[in-house]
């Protein structure tokens, strides 16, 4: 049975890795090369030129958009989403779990049911609100409307409920008020949960396409996702699209999420094995 198991696993690995390898390798060839010979599995000689161009070449109508700028925008979006969502949903969950106020449960379920509504459903009203607040073409306008997170609130709520009551009681006797308890006890205990949610939310923010497309007309807010798309749009014209550049951008777009997953999953696993409950 052993060889067969391995065979299945190896096939799985190839199946998952091949497209990534292909993108990486193809990005090192010239566009014309790709156009005539198709995708490539072997490295070509144009790596430096392509990546250099992608990162620094000024493009777009205004001639100001570089790959670096798009990378920065995507990072701001990803980090803004991840950090903002964690802060907001932790505070919401803290209020829901630790403070007795009327309709807390009803409120929670109201938040929770918004999980069922995808962003696309409310994208028009959200756009309108942002337009009226004059927040189009700003980072705040891009990030704030999507910060309320039912998923995050739900996960933190479940986690806080699993923290033993005695810990709160011990802290109360030790003279920790609500703010101190949150900062000194709950936040350190939530590290595992926070890193898990950070991974999810960073990638969610990083991959946003429709929302930034709608919210920003100013090219200086272009994200990598839009950059890739706009390179391929040349297809409509008579030119050969810059496949190599599209691939290079795609590879660049992959690096930060992969880095986030690698770093935070280590923290995540460490947290899992450390917690003793």
């Amino acid at each position: 049975m052993k060889p067969f198991d391995h065979l299945v696993l190896i096939l799985g690995v190839i199946f998952l890795c091949l497209p990534v390898v292909m993108a990486l390798m193809s990005s090192t060839h010239a566009a014309i090369d790709i156009h005539t010979n198709g995708l490539s599995l072997l490295p070509g000689g144009d790596a430096m030129a392509t990546y250099g161009k992608v990162l620094t070449h000024r493009g777009g109508f205004t001639g100001d958009v570089t790959g670096l700028l798009m990378l920065r925008n995507s990072l701001i979006l990803g980090l803004g989403f991840a950090i903002g969502k964690i802060v907001l949903s932790m505070m919401a969950a803290y209020a829901l779990v630790y403070f007795r106020f009327r309709f807390a449960t009803a409120l929670f379920w109201m938040i929770f049911t918004t999980l069922l509504l995808p962003l696309e459903v409310r994208i028009m009203p959200s756009y309108q609100v942002m337009a009226q607040l004059h927040l189009l073409n700003t980072y705040s306008g891009l990030i704030i409307p999507l910060l309320a997170s039912a998923t995050g609130t739900f996960f933190f709520r479940q986690f806080f409920r699993s923290v033993p009551d005695e810990l709160l009681e011990a802290a109360r006797i030790d003279g920790a008020g609500p703010v101190k308890f949150f900062i000194d006890i709950l936040i350190p205990l939530s590290k595992t949960m926070m890193s898990a949610i950070f991974i999810i939310m960073f990638i969610y923010g990083w991959n946003q396409y429709l929302w930034p497309l709608l919210m920003t007309t100013d090219e200086s807010f272009y994200t990598l996702m839009r950059g890739i798309k706009s390179i391929l749009q040349v297809w409509i014209g008579s030119q050969i699209p810059d496949y190599n550049e599209a691939f290079a951008l795609a590879v660049l777009a992959m690096i930060p999420p992969v880095a986030v997953v690698v770093v935070f999953q280590r923290m995540f696993i460490k947290g899992l094995t450390e917690s003793d409950k």
């Binding site: 033993p164 005695e166 009681e169 802290a171 003279g175 000194d184 006890i185 205990l189």
Partner: protein, 359 residues
């Protein structure tokens, strides 16, 4: 260091029809070790948590020292609590766990270090100061929880079954340590347990609770020797005191057709309480059918039936025991209770009567 006074304290949980604790009056002296004992659900934890300030007081007053603390936060009551599951902060080192309460009270860095060091020395926690709680054994965690309490030098210690997560042997050691520590520090202590042996060995005074009310308050031996009710009698002491239906017939206490003693009481039914160690197997006396024998090593407990009622007798000899034995009862060592209310009846029992004469 302070005395604690509970006046007519009661607690009714919201949404519950009857009270979990009612009419509790206890006056605790400065430096006294008081143990609250009773079966599960009798309201021990509730009472302790009301003193701690973790549970609102529904009625009555609690004074710690000379302050009325009913409406004070737990942190302002100057108490420290040790929980059953220790409730150590898992992400903090032993040192930080012990220092946290003091730090929140704005103690200086130097004072912090010194007090933690003192507590650690006292509890032999020195080598573990930089470890996290998860890297400690149950007994060590227990000691850290103690350390966290004594570092603060509070007016009173509150313990809620602090030893029940430890194995039997460690429990005995820790019991002695807690007792020694409390005597040494002279801090008033309120200790909750459902283990009557723990209660007996630790307490200066016992408070026996039943259904949220006090059955008896007294020194361990006093409670053991003169239980105030059938409830206390059957709860304190192992094996439990045997309670049998008897009655008085013209000045004679009669059990199963045998005259047990002469008493100064009117005719009528009584509950007769007999401690196993006050009874002996004798050539003649009350006949008992042996049911089973519990070997404890130093002694054995013989369980049997007297006229259909369960009776336990402690026996130290090694000789084999026949199916039917006779029990000698010392009239000075019997307990009489009201059959209806279960309260102790202080009835004068006369000195030795000639024999267990058949009626």
């Amino acid at each position: 260091m302070a005395h604690i006074t509970l006046k007519d304290v009661s607690k009714t949980y919201s949404g519950s029809a009857h009270s979990a604790v009612s009419g509790v009056d206890i006056a605790i002296q400065d430096g006294e070790f008081i143990v609250l004992v009773g079966p599960s659900g009798c309201g021990k934890s509730t009472l302790l948590r009301m003193v701690a300030g973790l549970e609102a007081i529904s009625g009555g007053q609690v004074h710690i020292g000379d302050r009325l603390v009913n409406d004070l936060d737990p942190a302002e009551r100057d108490i420290a609590m040790v929980f059953q599951n220790y409730a150590l902060y898992p992400h903090m080192t032993v040192r930080d766990n012990m220092a946290y309460g003091l730090k929140n009270r704005g103690a200086s860095r130097q004072e912090l270090a010194q007090r933690v060091q003192e507590a650690a020395t006292l509890l032999e926690l020195g080598p573990y100061l930089d470890r996290k709680p998860r890297a400690l054994s149950g007994g060590q965690r227990q000691r850290v929880a103690m350390g966290r309490a004594i570092v603060r030098q509070p007016a009173a210690f509150l313990f809620d079954e602090p030893l029940s997560n430890l194995d039997a042997k460690l429990r005995v050691t820790m019991r002695m340590e807690i007792r020694k520590l409390q005597k040494r520090l002279g801090t008033t202590a309120l200790y909750v347990t459902h283990d009557q042996l723990e209660a007996m060995t630790l307490a200066d005074r016992l408070v026996v609770l039943n259904g949220g009310q006090i059955e008896q308050i007294g020194a361990p031996l006093e409670v053991y020797r003169t239980p105030a009710s059938t409830f206390v009698a059957s709860f304190i002491g192992a094996p439990a005191m045997s309670l049998l239906d008897a009655h008085v017939e013209s000045g004679r206490l009669v059990l199963a057709g045998h005259q047990v003693a002469r008493v100064h009481a009117g005719d009528g039914p009584l509950t007769l309480g007999l401690r196993a160690e006050d009874l002996r197997i004798a050539p003649q006396g009350l006949p008992m059918d042996v049911e089973f024998i519990e070997e404890l090593g130093a002694q054995r407990v013989v369980y049997g039936l007297v006229d259909g009622q369960r009776l336990a007798v402690v026996e130290t000899g090694a000789k084999s025991i026949s199916q039917r034995v006779h029990i000698a009862i010392d009239p000075q060592r019997l307990h009489l209770f009201d059959t209806v209310s279960g309260r102790r009846r202080d009835i004068v029992v006369e000195q030795q009567i000639p024999s267990h004469a058949h009626l």
